[in-house]
Amino acid sequence: MDRAWTPETFPRAIKTGVLGTDVTEACVRQAIAEVKNYPIAAYAVDMPFLPLAKGLLDGTGILLTATVGYPLGGMTLETKLHQVRYALASGCDEINPSLHFGAIKSRNRSALQREILEIRRCAADRLDIIFIAQFHILTNDEKLWVTELILDTGMRGVKTNGRGGTCLPEDITLIKRAFGDDVLLEASGGIRTAAEAIRMLELGASFIHSTSGYEMILERARSS
């Protein structure tokens, strides 16, 4: 089943990063040194480490990802835009904004549309944008509703979860059946092994985002 995902092609579907409260500069340096020789798609670090990571990833072809409103989505739009501007100034290639999850739960379409469109305007076509929808707290109806809303604004990128929560294979199937190739779906949350990652990719995920990305790549190389 997973023959298409060779040790050479598999890393291209992997996004990883080192994020969190106690992640130090030394952690970032070590983590990027480990992974930078593999052709992974993107690497995410917390805001204070963006300039450092930009330098460390220079010349690798790996995209630099910034989180926005991460991980709980409870920042105001103004604060999220402040972070987007910093991501632009730091030379990032991609952002992962956490949406206002309370607005999803209460189906506040206008608030979410405004948030998505303002972030898009602020990114000014200089950043790829993958919105974090936090599927693990949503019903299937809510997952479909928020994905449709993102697509309706002209955006394509949806990431299933941010910090916490588990991405289910059923989530990928649900979204891909409804929206097909209109959506660029990034599976994230609790994906720890290459086998789990490949299952998500075969169901239609475009990318896997996992803090275990490096270990997955090594695992895939060992099993070939």
Binding site: D22, G74, T76, E78, Y86, G102, K105
Partner: protein, 245 residues
């Protein structure tokens, strides 16, 4: 009788506990229905404050007008892994929407990574940016050594921070009695207060943290704690009433 002895001899009931409580509505995906419930309970019991994400400040500020319950906004939540400029922006933004207090998460990684001075600079800047408002620095003590907790507490005293809080409630462990005792000992005879926060689920736990030196308690389980307290202070009879025990 000292103040702490006075606390030990005060009847342990809802009236005693309520002024210590900061009722947190910080779970992912909180809706206006959740916020209304939180504000309503906080007003009913006359809690010290409600704590919310900045995006919910405007709504809660309107709801709590003239209630006597303060409104606190979290900043840099929950990892603290943001630039100082962004934390300052977020704090000023939350105050502009009507927050009374700011609870921000320190840059734990700087403390652990050999740049403790960064944490001090952050406290000085946040103190200045929130002048006239209560500001709390959340330390996330479960990730710190006792030396790191001590250093952060001393920085807070020097910077004129109002409270240091133990935890965000989103890391590995919440408020520990030993941590509150340690921080209270360092803060003794200073203006710094200690807030125990994260993982406080029972009345006994809340009272033990107060006895350890906490001046405020941050909890998302405050309603059930008060119901438990009410039940105990009425000799085990649950009657649904709240403030009259």
């Amino acid at each position: 009788m000292t103040i702490s002895e006075g606390i030990l001899h005060t009847p342990r009931n809802n009236r005693f506990l309520a002024p210590f409580i900061d009722y947190a509505a910080l779970h992912v995906g909180a809706t206006e229905v959740d916020l209304e419930s939180t504000c309503s309970v906080a007003c009913h019991y006359r809690f010290a404050a409600v704590i919310v994400h900045p995006v919910d400040v405007a709504w809660c500020a309107k709801r709590l007008t003239d209630s006597g319950v303060k409104l606190a906004a979290v900043v840099g939540f929950h990892t603290g892994a943001f630039t100082l400029e962004n934390k300052l922006f977020e704090a000023e933004n939350a105050l502009s929407y009507g927050a009374d207090e700011i609870d921000y998460v320190i840059r734990v990684a700087s403390l652990k990574g050999g740049d403790a001075a960064c944490v001090h600079r952050e406290m000085l800047a946040l103190r200045k940016a929130t002048a006239g408002h209560t500001v709390t620095a959340i330390l996330e003590t479960c990730l710190l050594t006792d030396e790191e907790k001590t250093a952060a507490c001393k920085f807070a005293i020097d910077a004129g921070i109002d409270f240091v809080a133990t935890s965000t409630g989103f890391s590995t462990v919440g408020a520990a009695i030993a941590d509150v005792q340690l921080l209270a000992k360092i803060a003794d005879s200073s203006a710094l207060g200690i807030k125990a926060s994260g993982g406080i689920r029972s009345a006994n736990q809340a009272l033990a943290l107060i006895d350890a030196g906490a001046k405020r308690l941050g909890s998302s389980a405050a309603k059930s704690i008060m119901e438990e307290m009410n039940l105990v202070s009425r000799g085990g009879q649950a009657d649904g009433s709240c403030m009259d025990s």
